[in-house]
Amino acid sequence: MIPAAFDYKRASSAAEAISLIGEYGEDAKFLAGGHSLLPLMKLRLAQPTVLVDIGKLTDLSYIRDAGDHIAVGALTRHRDVETSDLLKQHAPLLAHTAGEVGDPQVRHRGTIGGSIAHADPASDLPATTLALGATYVLQGPNGTREIAAADFYQGFLTSAMAADELLTEIKVPKMDGAGWSFQKFNRRAQDWAIVGVAAWRRNGDSGVALVNMGNTPILATSVTTALSGGASIAEAAEQAVAEAEPQADLNASIEYRTHLAKVLVRRALEAASS
């Protein structure tokens, strides 16, 4: 389990990182915590020729109050998201979800930006930021742009981010007072979700997103639409998979995933409503 050889560049600024990635092109990759990338490299499922290490860009590790939202730097470690008082107050669903990622060692090393940029549909934080209506800030050679989480995920492990763009910040709307729940069904506590659900409700508004129910994290808009239309939780939960495209794998058949999604959406909405 040895990765293929690669060239290593340590970036000292976001701009330098972007410039380096531009220089080396398609086969270059950013390296942050490395917890998504290294296992793939060790299995030689990923063989980047150049890694641009952005791990030293400590100025991208922050959690700040930015008025109507909380700004989370992309290199903020899961553990720091989990324990942030600011997030616990204004976006507790995000803090809680970060504490559900993997195990302690993963949370000490993995970053929120790495998790989102990897765009794994089985990953927790993409779905939660999607449910929360977060906005991602991408920096490229020509400056920064913002993209809604809802527009970011395009396919399995692929996103709207260009190869020479770097995710620098996640803007999380403040959700003070919202009811929320993160439901994760897995065999063991630290496993990837077989199915997961992130949900919040506040004053008739709601957001629901699904983990591992398709090629991308899924925004369950039919559920929230049904709720807005006055449907009961049970009725709305029946709409859980309207946007999903669940796949079968060793852990669950399509039918079982579908069943779990409905159950977990119902449980999440009940918890978020209590």
């Binding site: 690669f6 390296l31 490395g34 290294l38 290490d53 993997g102 302690p104 090393r109 630290q190």
Partner: protein, 169 residues
Amino acid sequence: MADTTVGIPTVSVTVNGVLRRGTPEPRKTLADFLRDDCELTGTHLGCEHGVCGACTIFMDGEAVRSCLVFAVQAEGADITTIEGLSAPDGTLSVVQKAMNEAHGLQCGFCTPGFVVSITALLRDNPDPSDEEIRQGLSGNLCRCTGYQGIIKAVKIAAGQSVDANGKAH
């Protein structure tokens, strides 16, 4: 082979209080750097893909898996391995002593990773609940003990009194 425009990157890390410099190939993991270059073989490799936790070390104060970090990423880091947790004369740390008292190991292969994880857990949470102990250990696999002695060891190290079955009182 790996090279950069400015030459092979050097790495300077402090390991158990000693500054170590090297020029590891970029793909060399921190675990291999510690085991091969620093000759600290107490850090074990049970899976090499970031699950079993046998390679857990302290890196800048946090318990992390050294098999999922390239040595070059550790530039400037302060690292403590299992060898750094006991005294040179063999005197055990509180956690190491508790593992011995509680029969927290059998084959011992996973033990260094557990000792680091427990040490980190108790530093951040000196009086953990049962649930917190289990969560705190969830990144380390053991195949011999069924975790019974290990959980008991955490309680002993935390100063909780435990009965023969490992239940705290």
